[in-house]
């Protein structure tokens, strides 16, 4: 696939890094020559310097042949103009743009019927906000990911002593929860994946990924550990794009929210914008401030600034001062690894990892509607639509056990006309089913893609 990426910022680079490994042909456009040189040294791709909305620059970048343009510069206007130019002059098949300003997003009619010809609008801030919000909803989970518009969720949870299933074979789950269906897609034990069978015995400290209908998540989770009390009090550090959005969402629900920002002006702005949230001006790593604001009664503390070091420090401090759970955004991959193995910060979120899936979904061959990158990019969960019939498809008309899946790949669930069907060996896949798969090894993705592609005879 030939892809043009506009903007060598954080989003652009992390996409480029991911796609270069997947044998895509990538050209990055940016105005900053130094930045481009740095990428060129590190990654096998082409770069073009200039304004990516200009026809000549796009042409130089290979727009005549490109299958996709990904406009992720910091300027909404450049992104919009670039998609318009690509559409009109180059008929670029897929146009994806990052749009941040709610001034545009509040008018979805701008983007329908090709008025502004963008096929997919991505908002990394919104994706992250949703991601964190789901973790606040399920404080016992390490990860909660949506499929089929939220009908099905993939949840990662750490098994603890005291969970009724811990020490038992997976098949005991049926007896424990006779009215609930779920599928354990993978288990990570001491960081190594196990593809589970009915005989697999769950051990304490296992990281278990299970798939279930949304309404069953809590019940399944309670089999693996004692559930945390629901979250009530939340403290957010950082009033930037994410902190602000998250506060706005949370304050409308049952949560009591405090937001700390060290920038006085921004704290004031945020305070005006938010209704119930208590906005504080100060340093989130200030012991006195945290104590005064009742950190020891706080259910979850989220460090959401742009500064990794500040996030890590404030989260560690909050934990030490008694916050029940702490979560931190961490941009640098190496820090995420450090923190994950350390254990004092309950959840470290890499913004790149959390958002890359929304882009990968459009790069995957076949009709893939959702992708979530997991385990620092080593694993992947995808939702693919099965098309065709017994003749043109390798999955339609077959039972799950007869689908030639690559090793380490599990079909977890199927969504058929908005009904969630947990996959069992004898579940038959029908045309138009949304199939949710878990791959412990992302390198097998090409095989899975092939599986879901229809043969030439599909008309």
């Amino acid at each position: 696939m030939k892809i043009i990426i506009l903007g060598a910022g954080q989003v652009g680079i992390s996409v480029a890094e991911n796609l270069v490994n997947e044998a895509s042909d990538i050209t990055v456009i940016d105005t900053d020559a130094l930045q481009l040189e740095e990428i060129r040294h590190r990654l096998d791709l082409r770069t073009v310097q200039g304004n990516g909305a200009y026809p000549e620059i796009l042409k130089q970048a290979g727009a005549d042949d490109a299958d996709m343009i990904l406009a992720v510069t910091n300027s909404d206007e450049v992104n919009i103009a670039a998609c318009q130019v690509a559409n009109t002059l180059f008929h670029t098949p897929t146009k994806i743009a990052r749009i941040r300003a709610s001034e545009y997003l509040d008018h979805p009619e701008l983007f329908i019927h090709g008025a502004i010809p963008i096929d997919v609008i991505i908002s990394p801030e919104q994706i992250l906000t949703d991601y964190i919000q789901r973790l606040i909803e399920y404080p016992s989970a390490l990860q909660v990911l949506d499929f089929a518009g939220g009908l099905v969720r993939l949840v990662a949870v750490k098994a603890y002593y005291g969970g009724p299933l811990v020490g038992h074979e997976l098949k005991a789950l049926r007896e424990h929860l006779p009215n609930i269906d779920t599928r354990v897609a993978a288990i990570y034990r001491r960081d190594r994946p196990i593809v589970p069978t009915g005989d697999t015995v769950i051990e304490a400290d296992d990281e278990v990924f299970f798939i279930a209908a949304r309404k069953h998540i809590r019940a399944v989770m309670s089999e693996l550990r004692k559930l945390d009390k629901p979250v009530k009090r939340v403290i957010l550090a950082g009033g930037g794009n994410i902190g602000r959005r998250l506060a706005k969402t949370l304050e409308k629900q049952k949560y009591s929210v405090k937001l700390i920002d060290h920038n006085r002006k921004r704290a004031q702005q945020v305070a005006e914008e938010l209704e119930k949230t208590i906005v504080l001006h100060g340093d989130a790593a200030d012991e006195d401030l945290l104590t005064r604001e009742g950190i020891d009664h706080t259910d979850i503390f989220c460090a959401l600034t742009n500064d990794d070091e500040a996030n890590i420090l404030s989260a560690l401090l909050a934990k030490k001062l008694g916050a029940r759970k702490v979560l931190s955004l961490i941009n640098r991959a190496i820090y995420v690894d450090l923190i994950q193995s350390g254990g004092d910060i309950d959840i470290a979120i890499s913004p790149q990892q959390a958002t890359i899936g929304s882009l990968l979904a459009h790069v995957r061959r076949g009709d893939v509607v959702a992708v979530h990158s997991l385990r620092r990019g080593a694993a992947e969960a995808i939702e693919a639509i099965a098309h065709g019939d017994e003749n043109s498809s390798r999955v339609v008309g077959r039972m799950v056990q007869d689908v030639p899946l690559p090793e380490g790949t599990t079909i977890g669930a199927i969504v058929r006309k908005n009904n969630v069907i947990i996959a069992h060996r004898d579940t038959k896949i029908e045309a138009d089913d949304h199939v949710i798969l878990f791959l412990v090894d992302k390198r097998k993705i090409a095989e899975v893609e092939r599986l879901f592609q229809v043969s030439y005879s599909f008309l």
Binding site: D64, D67, H91, S455, Y456
Partner: protein
């Protein structure tokens, strides 16, 4: 329906100069539009693209059969091209393609259309026919090879 009715020398291009799958599908749409001005070029391109997304129509041996349904079309229309240079097409055998037969059918595609597709595949699966087409010097010769094989 016979292949003669599906294709005409006007909708055949000899040694098409394209460098990508995207350009190829675009050019094929243009080729069909030039001979059938009523056909919406961009919609045709979009239809071919949408179908490719579900799975490549590269059938191996350097051949691709892109196809799609098109609103407002009242009969099936084909176009054919040999390529100046091989193009990567994500084919079933991972080989780049050298020739391409595009087919657009009415939105309400029928069993007949499926048969048509199978027939085209059948013709181009034949080693001797492919060799002749690749050895041709112009589109008239290609037209002969494509349609003769059918008649015989």
């Amino acid at each position: 329906m016979q292949l003669q009715e599906l294709i005409s020398p006007e909708r055949i291009e000899f040694s098409m100069p394209v460098t990508s799958k995207k350009r190829l599908l675009e050019q094929l749409s243009t080729l069909m539009h030039a001979d059938e001005p009523g056909l919406d070029e961009y919609a045709a391109f979009q239809s071919l693209l949408d179908r490719e997304r579900l799975g490549s129509t590269g059938i191996g041996h350097g051949v691709a059969l892109p196809h799609g349904r098109l609103k407002g079309l009242d009969k099936a229309i084909g176009a054919f091209a040999t390529l100046e240079k091989e193009v990567d097409y994500d084919s079933i055998d991972h080989e780049p393609i050298k020739m391409v037969f595009a087919l657009l059918v009415p939105e309400q595609a029928t069993e007949d259309h499926l048969q048509l597709l199978a027939r085209i595949a059948n013709v181009l699966n034949d080693d001797a026919t492919r060799a002749k087409i690749l050895g041709a010097n112009n589109k008239e010769e290609i037209y002969q090879y494509l349609t003769n094989r059918e008649a015989g």
